[in-house]
């Protein structure tokens, strides 16, 4: 392995934190879902790094599954966002606050 595992895990950690930051701070629903996707991809990257470290294919398989699961997740998220848009005409996250209670 040319790149040491430590570097991969640091990179994955940075990407994960960026995704978390994006999910927490952005006020646009699509950007929040995007942030969650970035977090998932950071996980996939860490899995690939680990699978290279152990010279096993298991981690790579997990990464493939993560891609598929992320696609399913984003399809549910976007479907919800589309119905929010139809209902309110906006995808700003503030609509969640005033609605319940």
């Amino acid at each position: 392995m040319i790149v040491p595992y430590g570097h991969v895990i640091v990179l994955a950690g940075i990407i994960f934190l960026l995704g978390l930051l994006c999910a927490v701070t952005r006020r646009n629903l699509i950007m929040i879902v995007l942030g969650i996707e970035i977090m998932l991809n950071a996980g996939a990257l860490a899995f690939i790094g680990a699978s290279l470290r152990w010279q096993q294919m298991g981690g790579q398989a997990v990464a493939l599954f993560i891609l598929a699961i992320a696609a399913a997740e984003v399809s549910i998220g976007l479907a919800l966002i589309v119905s929010v848009y139809r209902k309110y005409g906006t995808i700003h996250v503030d609509i969640l606050e005033k609605s319940t209670r």
Binding site: A12, V33, A46, S51, G59, I69, L80, V84, S99, T100
Partner: protein, 472 residues
């Protein structure tokens, strides 16, 4: 490969396929849907009972079938049957969406069943996601679209973030140990548990399960989701999904082994905060479903107290407590569904005069609330006793003391609900509540079960004991 091991899952997969077909046809009546679902749920319970004692592994050892998983599968099947049995009106879901409702309930149950058997990180992740996705859409199906969309979106955003955090924890643990099989991890994790990367990885990993169970840092979704989703969906989330969450929590915490210093402290802190916060918030609630949601959070704290003992007794207590939560919470929500006229979320005051409108339901509610508070002749007492004894044996005296204080606090708001049901005079409608005959039978059966297991818990405790042996 031995397919008989996979029987319950295959059966539920078939049910899913049936409802997938039905949801594509447009001509099936509401009644037919309901009876199809009910009958398939009854057969499901029978199938799970038959395969209670089978043993073995499947799919290159990623899937283990043993008494532990089969016991939880039986609980899930019973839970699904109970939930479907109160769906006869399904007032808050649009009529044309009923097949989808049953489809998603069956999918979620199937996923949770597989979750209890999964012993490979990838299998666990996929099963957890499948069950969560079904629940997101179930919440969305509420007829009152505005509430449905909002609640589902909130639930989705928190759930998806929690599962992403969990996935990163999986990756960290895999980076430390060259295997993703739980069986291998069980051997290697306890020796390295006090290294920061392993501790952090395990903690992140537990986040996803904390979310499912509604434990402190991830409890925010619970009250909103309970209040905002259809009453029947709430029943499903509060009973079946909690049982599955307890099953997987036990499996994951059993990985840590007994000799971790830091992680135990974290779990103790989380458990104390969870039960105190749940009980204190529940006092102020006017909405019955919100109140039950906060009581769910408090109960998650008690379960965690049993799990963090990391001893066979503690796990037995937690398994027993899963049965307790399933029966008692279901009874409460059955009353909620009965008193809600058009499928709205009832307030506590709406219970007024219940003892005259339907004495049977009032009695069931009383027993269920006493059970949740842990008063003796009910199953809830045995559950709490098991957990607290296990914690005492491990020397967590202060923890048990805090839990007991919490039990007293919880008694206050359970009695408030009872006061509304028994002592308060209703303002307008006094006409008796129409309870159909099958529901009367079900309620009586629940009452009998709650009391009988409360008095003779030995059989269930032995079963839980035997199941927990397979974890070690």
């Amino acid at each position: 490969m031995n397919w008989t091991l996979f029987q319950p899952e295959l059966y539920y997969f078939m049910v899913v396929m049936v409802f997938l077909t039905v949801s594509m046809l447009n001509s099936v009546s509401v009644k037919t849907n309901y009876y199809t679902a009910l009958i398939s749920a009854v057969i499901g319970v029978a199938v799970c009972t038959m395969s209670l004692r089978v043993n073995g592994t499947l799919f290159y050892n990623t899937y283990r079938v043993d008494l532990y998983s089969q016991l939880f599968k039986l609980m899930l099947a019973v839970g699904m049957f109970l939930v479907i049995s109160v769906c006869n009106k399904l007032k808050s879901v649009d009529d044309s969406r009923h097949p989808e409702f049953y489809l998603l309930v069956a999918t979620a149950t199937l996923a949770m069943m597989m979750l209890t058997s999964a012993v490979h990180l990838l299998t666990i992740y996929i099963c957890l996601e499948l069950s969560s996705y079904s629940l997101y859409i179930l919440v969305f199906l509420r007829k009152d679209q505005e509430t449905g969309v909002n609640t589902a979106l909130k639930y989705f955003l928190t759930g998806a973030s929690a599962s992403a955090v969990m996935l990163f924890g999986f990756a960290l643990v895999y980076g430390k140990f060259p295997s993703i099989y739980l069986a291998d991890l069980v051997e290697s994790i306890p020796r390295f548990i006090d290294q920061p990367s392993v501790s952090i990885g395990m903690l992140l990993m537990l986040c996803g399960f904390f979310f499912k169970l509604g434990v402190f840092p991830f409890h925010f979704w619970l009250p909103d989701t309970y209040e905002g989703s259809a009453n029947e969906t709430t029943t499903f989330i509060a009973t079946v999904s909690k049982v599955a969450a307890i099953a997987i929590m036990i499996r994951m915490v059993a990985l840590i082994g007994g000799n971790s210093v830091y992680l135990i402290k974290v779990l103790i802190g989380i458990s104390v905060i969870t039960m105190t916060l749940g009980n204190l918030c529940a006092i102020a609630q006017q909405d019955l479903k919100r109140l039950l949601a906060y009581s769910s959070i408090a109960h998650a704290g008690y379960v965690l107290l049993g799990i963090l003992c990391m001893s066979p007794n503690g796990y037995t207590g937690a398994v027993f407590y899963a049965v307790t939560i399933l029966l008692l919470k279901f009874t409460c929500f059955m009353v909620v569904i009965s008193i809600s006229k058009k499928g709205e979320s009832p307030s506590v005051d709406q219970l007024a005069g219940l003892h005259r409108r339907s004495p049977l339901l009032a009695l069931a509610l009383m027993l269920a609330l006493f059970g949740l508070a842990g008063i003796p002749p009910t199953i809830g007492f045995s559950g709490k006793l098991l957990i607290f004894t296990a914690a005492m044996n491990n020397g967590y005296f202060l923890l048990v003391f805090i839990a007991m204080v919490n039990v007293v606090i919880s008694l206050y708001y359970y009695l408030l609900v009872l006061k509304a049901a028994y002592l308060k005079e209703p303002v307008d409608d006094i006409q008796p509540l129409h309870v159909p005959f099958p529901q009367k039978v079900l309620t009586t059966a629940l009452i009998i079960t709650i009391v009988t297991i409360g008095i003779f818990p030995t059989y269930l405790i032995d079963l839980a004991d035997a199941a927990v042996k397979y974890l070690m």
